[in-house]
Amino acid sequence: MNRQNLFFVVLVVLLIVGIAIFQLTMPPTLRGTVIEPPKPMPNFTLQSANGPVSLSDFRGKIVVLYFGYTSCPDVCPTTLASLRQALNDLGEKADEVQLVFVAVDWQKDTPERVASYLDAFHPDFVGLSGTQEQIDAVTKDFFIFYQINPPDENGYYTVDHTATMQVLDREGRLMLTWPYGLTADELLDDLKVLVRK
């Protein structure tokens, strides 16, 4: 091998190694909004159909926290169905991810009602309810806006609420938020990165 060839080979190798190092050290791009550094979040305990559940029960798992209400026919089911699809596509690793749904409609959403609602989506989804004081405290801690609107003449009402999903890391720190409207594939892309950590 002559000197010129050797020089060329070395150049190619350096280039490839350079690209490799760049790829490995660059944090992968996520679809959601990354919270850097991850923010430690307060614990809470609310009621599930199977008894009280605390956020800290899920340490070691990645928790996807979503606030909604069971009379929500549109945005909530779309979000939950997208996440279910993403978890199904994630395969075995889906065991490391826990969805926790907090029902903000404390007037109507009993633990049983929430469980029955979530059951239609995924058997492993956990649904939680609380008193007005508890829901007010948790939503405040997690920067969630909600408002139960005045009922109409027949007693029916809607609830406005932040439709963002929040992702907590294995130590319970807020590390990512997903805006409403991401597709199952986009959620899956992020989940693949999250479970590798």
Binding site: P73, F145, D189
Partner: protein, 166 residues
């Protein structure tokens, strides 16, 4: 010497391939799942110049609230307005619109939805939808559930909504 060099190049290429594999896997092959409501070839129902396509509802259990979705096409020369809806399976039916105010999801009952002459309105996720509130009975996937839509000009039009699993 030559062999070692070759081995090193191979190693480097493999390393680069591994590293770039994951983050770049979806470049250029984005498949779009948000293509919106599937347009059936034939309208499920037509009356008074209006054609209704793809009527569907999401499954729900007794006491729950669920959504109904469809597309209304106006082939007539005059605009029409959807004034209300009534579904036999629900204690109460309302027509709602979902509005995103920043990150906050809001649903509001709408007075009427105008379908312009020659135009089309989609009742779909994230927009207008029929609210089947406080279901009197389980509405199961695979079945159909009837709703009557009341229009200003076309009058009452009954459509069968195909129930989809959640």
């Amino acid at each position: 010497m030559k062999k070692t060099l070759f081995g090193f190049v191979l190693f480097a290429v493999l390393l680069a391939a591994c590293a770039s594999g994951e983050p770049m896997h979806d470049m250029g092959m984005q498949h779009d799942e948000s293509a919106g409501m599937q347009m059936d070839d034939k309208p499920a129902m037509s009356a008074g110049g209006l054609e209704i396509y793809g009527p569907k509802a999401m499954a729900g259990k007794i006491g729950q609230t669920t959504g109904g979705f469809l597309t209304i096409k106006n082939t007539g020369a005059a605009a029409d307005r959807l004034l209300s809806a009534s579904c036999g399976a629900a204690m109460m039916t309302q027509v709602h619109e979902t509005v995103m105010d920043g990150d906050v999801m809001k649903m509001r009952e709408v007075e009427a939805i105008e379908i312009p002459a020659g135009g089309m309105v989609e009742l779909k996720h994230g927009g207008y939808h029929i609210m089947l509130m406080d279901l009197k009975q389980d509405v199961k996937a695979g079945e159909t559930t009837a709703c009557t839509l009341k229009f200003e000009n076309a009058g009452e039009v009954t459509v069968e909504l195909k129930v989809m699993s959640r």
